[in-house]
């Protein structure tokens, strides 16, 4: 017996150094039950974080550094996001590279927000790449051929969002907003698709476009948050030494948050031309906003826009 008005519950958490808000809507579940489902959905964030954080000396990814040259069996919480990141590295010929951890530390991105402690990997060379990491699908092992600080910042949060989404499928509608990386499932309480704004990269509090989506992820990478305190002009995305202008932000719509998360970062790194080609090749839609505030999109982007 469906209830007249759908119950709607939102809870907010801190995970992965950001605010994660989860909203659940249902005509068939009591508010308390929606609340419990939301609490189940937040758990993957802490589990993925404990395995994939490069900021904690006791994380699974960090402990790999004690076993350089050995094949180490790892949990699926680490294996799958790492495998995905290495695939994107392969597709982009290493322009997107999860082996940038050491360089990120030197840009000042070295503090674990949970402990306040700084981490530094002194004996790690700067010139390592994703090719120094080998995976074995059958035995689920990771081998570091040289000491590599692996940074899964572009995939782990997306993976956690996707895991959280699997916990909420029975609801009529839900949204997981992990600090601006969003998965919107089902429909709003009024039966319409969720309306998602794209943040203006230079004017805080303003948006530049509105999407109407259902059962899709929307992730944005940008140069305007998490700036380096060490190197002026540098942000948390390590850009290669290439000519041309880098986008101020790239937003990607994809079926999975892990795809949208990784591909928005990869497109930032590749720049406008190669980035757009990458998104087209991967079958996802994207919006590029350049520093002069000019914009361009992939071919089917308008399918999702709602003015």
């Amino acid at each position: 017996m469906p209830m007249e008005r759908p119950a709607s519950v939102q809870k907010a958490f801190v995970a992965m150094d950001t605010r994660v808000a989860i909203t659940g809507v249902s005509r068939h579940h009591a508010e308390a039950d929606i609340g419990l489902r939301i609490e189940s959905a937040i758990r993957p964030f802490y589990e993925v974080e404990a395995s994939c954080s490069r900021f904690r000396s006791d994380s699974e990814v960090r402990r790999l550094l004690h076993h350089v040259g050995e094949a180490v069996v790892v949990s699926p919480l680490l294996y799958h996001p790492l495998r995905f990141a290495l695939t994107i590295a392969d597709i982009t010929a290493g322009q997107f590279d999860p082996a940038v951890g050491r360089r990120m530390e030197r840009l000042g991105f070295a503090i674990d927000y949970q402990s306040g402690c700084s981490i530094a990997s002194v004996s790690v060379p700067d010139d390592v790449t994703y090719r120094d990491i080998t995976l074995d699908d059958e035995h689920r092992t990771v081998t570091l051929h040289r000491p590599v600080v692996i940074d899964l910042g572009a995939v782990a949060k997306g993976f956690a969002v996707d895991l959280a989404a699997t916990q909420l499928q029975e609801l009529d509608g839900f949204v997981i907003d992990a600090g601006g990386d969003i998965y919107a499932g089902g429909l709003r309480p009024d039966g319409k698709p969720w309306r998602i704004g794209i943040r203006h990269p230079r004017v805080s509090g303003a948006t530049v476009a509105t999407l109407a989506i259902s059962n899709c992820a929307v992730c944005t990478s940008g140069d305007y948050e998490r700036k380096s305190r060490v190197e002026p002009g540098a942000s948390h995305i390590v850009l290669p030494q290439r000519g041309g202008t880098s986008p101020a932000s790239v937003t990607v719509i994809a079926r999975y948050a892990m795809m949208a998360d990784a591909l928005s970062t990869a497109a930032m790194v590749l720049g406008p031309d190669e980035g757009r080609a990458l998104l087209a090749k991967c079958g996802v839609e994207g919006l590029f906003i350049m520093p002069d505030l000019s914009t361009f999109t992939t071919d089917q982007w308008e399918v999702y826009t709602d003015e």
Binding site: S40, G179, G180, W194, V203, K281
Partner: protein, 172 residues
């Protein structure tokens, strides 16, 4: 060179496999309640319906009688944190937040924001923007996608709560 369709399919398949692997490993905690949605249960009365704890194989503090009670639980294990619920607060230029951290089996189970009084500054930038991008107020949207926010207030609140949860037996 990869074909476009093929690459899209491969990436989607990898995501599907990743989620399936987690389900197989027992991470899909609500799976058992999949076919019994709670209909019309008075709020507050459904507390146990969908709460499925992780399999008992994960290490516990062997202290079930006092789990969740900070005053009486003893740090027997070498887990990093002692089970219980801890509060912490933090503030910065955008405001103040209060968090409630739940430690279960020596690990962080959730960090809920229980109070949030933050105001992200509205920009005073000249309203005349280049006409390529039309800035709009975000009032008519449900959520906003942007580069990942981070806040010192959140970190401070989490650190304050976790300081209290610290297990003195932990060597790490």
């Amino acid at each position: 060179m990869w074909m476009a369709k093929q690459m899209s399919k491969q990436l989607i398949a990898m995501c599907t496999v990743a989620l399936g692997a987690m389900y197989a490993a027992g991470y899909a905690v609500t799976a058992q309640s999949a076919d019994k949605p709670v209909v019309g249960v008075p709020s507050g009365g459904s507390g146990t319906t969908s709460r499925n704890e992780r399999p008992a194989s994960t290490h516990t503090t062997n202290d079930t009688a006092t789990a969740g009670n900070r005053e009486t639980s003893r740090p027997k294990s070498t887990a990093k944190y002692i089970d219980g619920t801890y509060q912490g607060s933090g503030s910065d230029q955008i405001g103040t937040v209060v968090v409630s951290v739940i430690i279960r089996d020596g690990k962080i189970a959730q960090v809920e924001i229980t109070q949030c009084d933050t105001h992200y500054p509205q920009s005073d930038i000249d309203p005349v923007l280049p006409n390529e991008v039309i800035a709009k107020q975000s009032a008519d949207v449900d959520f906003v996608s942007g580069a990942t926010l981070s806040s010192y207030a959140f970190a401070m609140a989490v650190q304050q709560a976790l300081d209290q949860a610290q297990n003195p037996n932990d060597k790490g």
